[in-house]
Symmetry: C2
């Protein structure tokens, strides 16, 4: 705290006043346009400035204030910036021009077709992690890497750069197994089931998951409706020590923190390119200390990966980059023609997961089968069972209740097991005519779930009532829309009205 | 204005309170996180919402406020959004989810290599102009068009789209002549001189110019230190009617308004690709009603266009697209190896322009010669003089004072002629050793001028004291740095210290 005697020391800086504005984007510093510092330093609106407080600093974008919200010599910060600096009301900050962002030249080079070389990507990722990139600059980096796809060497360099800027976990024993799905297939929520099965068989699986990038739910979003996932490293270690596994959100532990920054912008743009995908997936696994990894790559005309050929190509890149880091990986190319299970959205998918783990009569079989395949693969890779015996072992672990018991124990260790919430607002979507369901558009059904509010609205989403191949009567229920608010329900309804063929029914 | 009796009508909307925050970026709406509308509609921070007031609307990004700056039922808008909606304190706005930005799918397609087709670019440009694109989305569009350069058909489509969303001027007589420099050459400020010469010869030249994109000054920035350039259409028409010409900022008249939105982000990214350049240049000229256009394309190792080959390619694209719109164009490929004139920065360039127009003894000859070439070209194209006689006519017009008289008259009609401002803070940069000046780096000398504050700080910039080929002694003055603030001077000095070879001197 400053005392009046110390105030003189603030003459070159300015004093913080909390306005409490949360931008969730670039850090923002609010200053009077006519304040002495802005005039002396030439800080115009949208300028990027370095803000120092104690031994911490951030780079922020200037927004000017023309009213008496702030007086001369006062400034405010957006909430995330305030927290990162550990600021208190009245603290004295100092402002300066940030160093020129030299690494942006490399991004421009990439845009015009020059490959990243040497430590280009290390420097870019470090600058990004230190908050030197504005959202607009991050968007240019992401777009450049999508339009000019990264080659093998660039993918390895980006993966290494992303590992290097974050924490790196070590575990007391090996093997440490992990699992990842490339995504794009709504409802394909196998991770909690796989973790429960392999941990019940004694394998170490300290699973950290992402939130959704462009989908209606990520594993972390789904697990969050069942238990606490926002665990720090000490908590993760406690849970893993006691249960051999966890199901935590990865973002809280600074594994590949650059990835979270990239994901925020990728999500806004709905872009997720192969090179960044490989680096995103593998940097998290390597940083998390995995030694054995199984990858699920669903492919289909409306999945993220469109064809078998593309799936093979992605598989080769993932296995190649993994090998460069000594990570043993296998990939399962799976059917990606329609959603998995019934629910699409965090809580609705959590219901499917519980249903499979509890071996309920009407548990979705496709979700169960996929989880068994992936868990079986890990059990074999890690040497728990002989080659070919993995699926049978996984099935037995589910059927005799050991998997659910392990799942409960993991959740209890993370803070308790809750039942998924349900929504107030529902609407049925019915078949316009009778016939056979011939196609389900994964992307557009996922869009409906997102318009309904998923993943931010945990209970929102879509509940599927038919599969490809089913025969339906006119007026039969195809799917239910679940929303937490009427605004979102109306918005999704408008989209559904414009897209009557999301589930295509053809007369026999 | 609302009265207390009308307040009930606001129950579905919220009331505006002015906070006076100027973001100069995306429109922002400030709302309490816990307000009824945010909860009912699921508006999280960073959500994009449609804001309606009367018959106007904008799309804004949500920033949440957690303090009592706003009460439940209150919201605020960033200043530009406030102005666009014509808002007053206490006005009642309504909020809704904006329509899905379908055109962003086309941008994603482009990122992955699909060309824009049909009306793709019309829809993108319309959405952009209506403010439906966030800065991050605009950055992705710009980056995609740079990484996947636009082909001929796309360039024509983008040009047409940019013309169509703006105003289009018509003039009482033809020919209507125009001039454009591709840029990248500091100090190449020929436009005011060319306009004065051709208008003095009776040609109609209603010149509208841009502000700087990535350079230390655009023609509008330079003219702004001499006269008022922010003219509306009626004012432009008055000036042109009385003087046959104007030197106005184009942004005020909604000629190709999309261009200004793109330029803001291009400037932040320091990107300016061929396809967008062609559409940007020609859309403004076509919308301004030009019939004859001369283009200056300087090329050199550190100019925007790096080689004669690239200059020829760009020339072919510009002339091809111009022809598609019936615009007669010629291009002059000019020497781009070193800055033109002495000043770099708005006021310093204005001094050079005045010096040439006033035929002062020490007026920069290179600037004069270039202006004569371009003006001569227009005089010939428009049929004022026979082929080959343009340069002589232009020279005579300068030398007998008619050009300066016309320039004065244009400035007086626009609001007066001021002398350029001078700075308080200067610093000399001297030769470390004697020898011959063999190279001047246009990009880095422009960077110095920008670090000194140009173009926002009008008087800031660089004053060149040597040209390539000059012999200098050790300690001789190479250039002066001019700054309005000590902060900017210090910042530029640090850059100059790290870059001692911006002007390369080699021992004879």
């Amino acid at each position: 705290m400053t005392t009046s005697g110390e105030e003189g020391a603030c003459h070159l800086g300015i004093r913080l006043k909390r306005l409490g504005i949360n931008s969730r984007s670039d850090h923002i510093i609010y200053m009077r346009e006519d304040c002495a510092v802005c005039r002396a330093e030439g800080f115009s609106a949208q300028a990027r400035v370095r803000v120092d407080l104690g031994d911490r600093f951030i780079i922020a974008t200037v927004h000017h204030v023309s009213t008496d919200l702030l007086s001369d010599g006062e400034a405010s910060l957006s909430e995330r910036a305030w927290a990162l600096l550990g600021a208190s009301e009245g603290d004295c900050i100092s402002l300066s021009h940030p160093a020129l962002l030299e690494s942006l030249r490399k991004v421009r080079g990439k845009i015009y077709g020059r490959a990243f070389e040497g430590d280009d990507l290390s420097i870019i990722v470090r600058d990004l992690t230190e908050g030197r990139y504005s959202d607009v600059e991050t968007a240019a980096f992401i777009t450049a890497c999508s339009a000019r796809d990264l080659d093998g060497a660039e993918r390895i360099a980006l993966t290494k750069a992303m590992v290097d800027v974050g924490d790196r976990l070590e575990w007391p024993r090996t093997p440490v197994v992990d699992k990842h799905c490339i995504g794009g297939l709504p409802g394909n929520r196998t991770t909690p089931i796989v973790v429960a099965i392999v941990a019940a068989n004694g394998l170490l699986m300290p699973k950290t998951s992402s939130r959704a990038i462009t989908s209606p739910a990520g594993t972390a979003d789904t697990m969050e409706v069942l238990t606490k996932v926002d665990l720090d490293l000490a908590a993760i270690r406690r849970v893993v020590e006691s249960e051999g596994a966890c199901l935590a959100w990865g973002g809280a532990v600074r594994l590949s923190p650059a990835d979270d920054l990239l994901i925020r912008i990728e999500r806004a743009l709905d872009i997720d390119s192969d090179g960044q995908l490989v680096a995103s997936v593998l940097s998290k696994k390597i940083a998390a200390g995995a030694t054995h990894l199984v990858l699920d790559i669903p492919y289909g005309p409306t999945a993220k990966v469109r064809s078998l050929e593309a799936a093979e190509k992605l598989k080769a890149s993932l296995l190649g980059v993994a090998a460069a880091f000594g990570l043993k990986a296998q990939a399962v190319l799976s059917d990606g023609t329609e959603p998995v299970g019934r629910g699409i959205g965090p809580a609705l998918e959590a219901r499917d997961v519980l249903s499979v783990l509890r071996c309920e009569q009407d548990a979705p079989e496709d979700l169960r089968d996929r989880a068994i395949t992936l868990a079986g693969c890990l059990l074999e890779m890690a040497g728990c069972v002989d080659a070919g015996a993995g699926a049978a072992c996984a099935t037995a672990t589910l059927d005799d209740g050991r998997a659910f018991k392990k799942f409960e124990a993991i959740c209890m260790a993370q803070g308790g097991l809750a039942e998924p919430p349900v929504v107030k607002h529902r609407r049925a979507v019915e078949a316009a005519k009778g016939g056979r369901v011939v196609r389900i558009d994964n992307r557009r059904i996922a869009q409906v779930a997102k318009l309904l509010g998923a993943p931010d609205a945990k209970a929102a989403g879509v509940l599927m009532r038919v599969c490809v191949g089913d025969s339906v009567e006119a007026g039969a229920l195809l799917y239910e829309m679940h929303a937490e608010t009427t605004g979102e329900l109306a918005y999704a309804l408008a989209y559904v009205d414009q897209n009557p063929d999301i589930i295509a029914v053809e007369v026999n």
